[in-house]
């Protein structure tokens, strides 16, 4: 199987109406490329949770997806308040979500832990008042 694909999605902060649109698109494209099973599911979830995070907390951001024969890379960069306490953010249940975000069904504090659980390699850096950079690698396993 020869996978080779790259695309970027610009995500607007606060745009809850379109939340998940990019992730659904990414999933559809990868599925059409022949990626299935665990790899597809993990990519979809990681993309979706990242997208929700940008929309919930940042001013705007970009999700870059790159597929090679061996793995899927998600490179997610946003501009915004950044994450004050990365260690806490990695903990299940820790949330800085506003009331509005919670009422939509988000903000349970599972986003970053979910992304990490989907990743075979994961890197999260952030600078307060600047933004956050998340790098995710998912191996393409036996399809």
């Amino acid at each position: 199987m020869s996978f080779n694909y790259e695309n970027s999605f610009i995500i607007e902060g606060g745009n809850f109406e379109d939340a998940g649109k990019a992730a659904v698109e990414i999933k559809k494209t990868l599925k059409n490329m022949g990626i299935t099973g665990d790899t597809l599911r993990k990519t979809a979830i990681a993309a979706y949770e990242s997208e929700i995070n940008i929309i919930s907390y940042a001013n705007h951001g970009v999700i870059n997806v790159r597929v090679t024969p061996e793995c899927v890379f998600l490179d997610i960069k946003d501009e915004g308040p950044g994450i004050e306490d990365i260690e806490m953010a990695m903990r299940e249940g820790y949330s800085t979500a506003s009331y509005r975000i919670r009422e939509l069904g988000f903000g349970a504090g599972m986003g970053i832990p979910n992304i990490k659980n989907c990743s075979d390699d994961f890197e999260l850096t952030s600078e307060v008042n600047k933004g956050t950079h998340l790098k995710v690698l998912i191996n393409i396993t036996d399809q």
Binding site: E17, G20, R41, A44, I45, Y48, I52, G105, A108, M110
Partner: protein, 125 residues
């Protein structure tokens, strides 16, 4: 059981996907929090929820959820229905509360089944 039988047990209205009522379902996941759905819901499951925003449809699409059951007589806004139609995800609405909806389906043999994100094994409960 089929989605048709689910509709019957829950006395539900079909909002989207009338042509998919012969779909087979075995498991269900109840939640109001989308991150939980993303973390645990198994592909092919029913999603029982009180949320009606378009995100439930996108979440369902991401996870290959079989169908969405809205509880407490909720009718989803147009944009949600449009999205469900576009992404081909059946959506039903029952007047029962989430507790009773879960109860009725459980009593008729639908089981809870959880697939933890990032792990290969599904947990049957």
């Amino acid at each position: 059981m089929t989605l048709f039988e689910v509709m019957d047990i829950l006395d539900a209205k079909v909002l989207v996907g009338r042509e998919q009522l012969n779909m087979e379902v075995k498991t269900a996941f109840s939640a109001d929090l989308l991150s939980d759905v993303l973390a645990f819901a198994k592909a092919g499951s029913l999603l029982l929820t009180g949320l009606t925003n378009p995100q439930i449809v996108r979440t369902a699409s991401i996870l290959d959820i079989a169908a969405i059951i809205l509880v407490r007589g909720k009718i989803a806004p147009d944009e949600t229905l449009r999205l469900a139609d576009e992404l081909n995800i059946p959506m039903l609405s029952t007047r029962y509360i989430l507790f009773e909806t879960s109860g009725r389906l459980y009593s008729r043999g639908i089981t809870g089944c959880v697939e933890k994100v990032g792990r290969d094994d599904s947990v049957s409960l």
